[in-house]
Amino acid sequence: MSIVTPVPPPTLPGAEVEIPRGPAGPRLPGPLLFLGRALRTLWSNGKARIGLVILAIDVLVAILAPLLAPHSPTATSFTPYQSPNATNWFGTTGNGQDVFSQMIYGARISLLVGIVAGAVATFVAVTIGLIAGYRPGIIDEVLSFITNLALVIPGLPLMFILAAYLTSRSVWTIVLVVAFTSWATGARVIRSQASTLRTREFVTSAQFSGERLFRVVFREILPNMTSLVAGSFFAAATAAVMAEASLEFLGLGDPNTVSWGTILYYAQQQNALLTGQWLMVFAPGLAIALLALSFTLVNFGVDALSNPRLREKS
């Protein structure tokens, strides 16, 4: 009895069997490389590309606000209730403030709340989802119960109630309130993905390789959930932007901050449509919608993040 490994056939000169070449050079680990690769992957998707462009514009406007805004957003030095004119491109508010400058500075708050609240909500969702998914039994049952409870309570009304009763009114209140009410959906999804991945053979093999719990969860399971986590983040950020605008519009935010939501608040207070300042209503509305849209568009590209096949330049 024998296992024969046949002699490989002679090859003609010039007729080489092609062995595909691997990636050249040493691989540098690090979050920077990861981010760069993630951006390139997102960029390759058409819809995500549009989303990234809009987002980039918003970010630039927010960062360069002092340079871009012609006037101070809070200075009440202009004639109130003006229609768009040479000095005030978008007109003025009832308090004599320049709407255009407010729009520029407003980008800061909207982006800040959107991204930070989204990040906090996602962080909570990932923590709870991973633990519940990876540890079946009593821990899973308790965490799932809490998640379901949070899901059942209507988010928007809860937000209003919380915002109304909290004594300190600041941007950070809004961030916390929004994050508190939007983590549950992500947690549910991440938990179910984690619990699927837990039983996958490469996780078992990692355990056989001697990996400890921490590494198994953060280096084996989590990287395979990148798409899901990114998707959750962008969904949460979208919800956060809309939620922040809603809270501000209803007067539950800090009326002294300048954000797109407060512009809408004052527009309503001052009957902007009646006084002919239609731009004061449409500009912030459109800006909020575009920002939310950009997050959603980028979300179309996140599926590729967890799929190494799509990372290669082919």
Binding site: M1, S2, I3, V4, T5, P6, V7, P8, P9, T11, L12, A15, V17, E18, I19, P20, L310, S314
Partner: protein, 344 residues
Amino acid sequence: MTLLHAQRINVVYEPNRGTRIWSVRDVDLTLQQGEFVGLVGESGCGKSTLGFALTRMLRAPARLENGAIHFDGVDVASLSGEALRRQRRKGFAIVLQSGMNALNPVRTIENHFGDILKAHAGPGDHYSAGAIRRRGAELLSKVRLEPSVLAKFPHELSGGMRQRVSIALVLALEPKMIVFDEPTTALDVIVQKAVMQTIQELQREQGFTAILISHDLGVVFESTNRVMVMYAGRVVEDQPSNELGRGLHHPYTEALLGCYADPRAEEIHLAGIPGTPPDLSKPLPGCAYAPRCPLAVEICWKVVPPLAPLGSGTAACHVRAPSAQVPEAKVAAAKAAAGAVATK
């Protein structure tokens, strides 16, 4: 009577811009009514793709690049939409690999029969619940299952039973040709034998033309009367099944045969095939098997060998089956024979 006549079938698969993978290349296939053909090959050889192409089941990003498929006189390659759908009744059908995935988990088997019968009902057919149950029981008995299966859900049945149900569902349409895509790969070895026996008996009783796609030469040898071996998207050999165990064959077929052995034999010589399968996105100008072939000569690297007579069938090999179309091959073959290259 010729039932299926397919010419120059080419299937290309484009997963993203810039990559074209030729899954099936220049395949001609003619089937007579009542034949039972086996399509054999390893992963990536294109056998499943060919089966899907013949039954018009290809989905983007794979597509039929060109080729004519004449089924029962009709060119089905050019059909689409409703006209194509009507071909599936008393026409061709496919039984897929995994019985579990092909059945809807939230509907009973009876519902499955009802769906199929109603979807393809003729103008005068009315299917009451009773009629569906009767027809269902009749079809189930053909695959050796009890009528009690009708009331069950797919997850309540074993793998072998689910596969039989899939076959029974296909029989509901009284097809003239059935393609079995690896019907027993996901099954236990003992259940595999039972299901293959049922398929064989069915084919004999009902007389439909059958194509069995499998990676297992043994299964194909035992069930079919004709075997086509595929490599890198092309058909490299076409023989009656009972000739597999003797005579000369295409070098790839011989290499494959060397990978099988009877575990009860006194002495066992088990071989593998060195090298790796070719990259289908970069087709070679000559024979795709040349890099791994012990008989390869210069012509093999330059010209794709056409199918030429070998034994009772045909093979695509310059050395074993030199074709009149390629005169240089005859010279090479003579040289090879003179050099007494070792065969099986």
